[in-house]
Symmetry: C2
Subunit: 430 residues, 2 copies
Amino acid sequence: MGYMKADDAEAVNIALLGFGTIGSSVYAVIQKEHDAILDATGVDLRVAHIVEKDFSRAGIDAPSDLFTSDFQRVLDDPSVSIVVELIGGTEWAFTFIDGALRAGRDVVTANKQLLANRGAALFDLADQLGRQIRFEASVAGAIPIIKVMRESMIAADLHTVYGIVNGTTNYILTAMYRGEGDYGGTLKKAQDLGYAEADPTADVGGADAAAKMAILASLAYRSRVTMSDVTYEGIERVSIEDVEYAKQFGFVVKLIGAARLVDGRVNVRVHPALVPENHPLASINGSYNAVYLKGHTIDEIMLTGPGAGGPPTATAVVSDIVNIAGTDAAGFLQSCTCYKALELCPDEDMRSAFFIRFKVEDRAGVLAQIASIFGEHDVSIESMIQKGHGDEAELMLITHPTMERGFFAAIEQVAGLSCAKSRPMTIRVL
Amino acid sequence: MGYMKADDAEAVNIALLGFGTIGSSVYAVIQKEHDAILDATGVDLRVAHIVEKDFSRAGIDAPSDLFTSDFQRVLDDPSVSIVVELIGGTEWAFTFIDGALRAGRDVVTANKQLLANRGAALFDLADQLGRQIRFEASVAGAIPIIKVMRESMIAADLHTVYGIVNGTTNYILTAMYRGEGDYGGTLKKAQDLGYAEADPTADVGGADAAAKMAILASLAYRSRVTMSDVTYEGIERVSIEDVEYAKQFGFVVKLIGAARLVDGRVNVRVHPALVPENHPLASINGSYNAVYLKGHTIDEIMLTGPGAGGPPTATAVVSDIVNIAGTDAAGFLQSCTCYKALELCPDEDMRSAFFIRFKVEDRAGVLAQIASIFGEHDVSIESMIQKGHGDEAELMLITHPTMERGFFAAIEQVAGLSCAKSRPMTIRVL
């Protein structure tokens, strides 16, 4: 498709699929920044169609004649060069993007679940057809992590990606850390403030972060990681006691996405973690996101910013649109990056340090019994706090890094002891 | 120039000008990452010439036959498509880059002083000739801030750029904050550890940071800011007492580069500043760099990482080289971004809050006298600490934001009072 140069302005017509929070913000940002973008780049950006079932904002937030419920109208309009998919979900979105690519359109999407589940087929198709799919807004809102990983980390030799990539859970955990309430109370407050959905399952359960980490891992290690390759747990089990005790040990509890290259194999997972107070990720508060990269040549880099919200996310979408207009679709910087097929490293082959909290009978010999089980499984203790409560004692332990296989075998044995008065709560230490 | 596609590997021959810390690291990173880059992008990256007066590392760090002291050899070799300038300075570097562009080569440079002083002429020439100049390594080492500002902040509507862009001064101020010594002692330690040059003037005096802020301001506001447009002061005047008292008020002293858009005018300067403890920039420690962007649509974004060092900086250089190989030189994303000619906003038209420290006679009426002078110039005090030392008192004040013109007029008057026992030290508050 023939795109414009800066001194040779040319209209770029786009179609927006979906007019919810992000879609309407994209429309508003395009209106507001139209002239600045035109002056800076020569791109005369125009929204030609808005495909949406719900017409309630037609005529208020955007002219009524742009609205249609029929995607075929977009495909039938040869003036449209870029289709912007913001409807979410993995079925219709797939069909629309597949159709747009086959009809010669480039695509911008913010759909992390689609890319994490069915990305390979779409990227392959785009490559075959010489088209682009850009997806900056799919991870971490306004933070340009996709472009940075694709285009700037070319010689970084990455081996670790840590992400705080879900604003809802970071808001809740920050509020718990600040003593503003327990999990239930802070979740309710997050919902009242619009930081959490009415049904928060995908956020608090870790699935949202898992999809984003699949995308980041695919870019970091140049090997396709799909949603089903990512193990994840959420923050529902994290109690105010865990947060308080972690603080006493000098840690902040965060929901961490971790994608690591371990001896040539890839491990990607999402779980609550104790982050040392002086680690850069410990200072990411509220609904903010951060992505922290480590590589053999770059040492470490971190990007932080708002992970959601209409205008910030719309900024990412609009930069994708302008970048498509400014680049050759067939260039290697725009192609699928997953040319390797690395093996996955299962969780039990990973080494981690752990925080453990549980109640035991407070009598002689109990500690020796527990210590002996840990010893048999090569789990060594770095620090411990014990608190008496009548005839029970609560134990809080931090282990040295240990093989997870052995650790969880030890925990099962400890949980089965007659002196154990609660199931041990375990949280990894970053 | 015909560059390659991923499935169609083609040699990209480069010439390195300069083989110091960065040049030799670029060579080493290219050797180490050659195969990974080839596999990922199809770019078969080869160093064809190393132009260097000092041949002491020839044959040790790189093959002797690559070395030459004659730049003409590069221009005479038609296989060289990219010239990488790492010699520094503003005279020979200008001549070499000018010559390379005119001979049809694209250019990568890390030379902040050259770009901040004479960038306009080079960017104009590159645009005329349809060539690229990339300069990711010129600001903040491995942090990809140039690409992010050029290509991702397209609709961000930036109005503020804060940078901690000099590692030497941040190392010294961090050490002072941690009580490891005064300015002289921590500078000496920084020199011993290689974080400061034998002649540290450009770093501690603010000129290095000023050049980097000129570059970032030019990108943020799309209007050329040169070195002579930037006012700067360094950290030589900052005493351990200032750092300690600032801490008591809840601030960390940092050398801050600030580029602001104020009612359509641009103000760029570098100065020590009191940063509130809970501001993201307060947590940037040691020799690390950070760039913090605020825009009307993105809220705020911060990028952090190592600001110097061979391999991190080399990573930025190599990503520039591969990006040139992967893009159309004439595309608008690669053109000069400075299409506006905004006016500068002089410092006296800026509003700032200030920290003030000075000694006065400890007798009745002195405070009233000082307060009355501040009042006449519309300077209002937010907080104050007074410490008695015999017949002298030390005053530490923090003002509300105030017009700098009036503030400095008030300070001159206060300094002239007979009760003033020391010249007032003033540091801006971020």
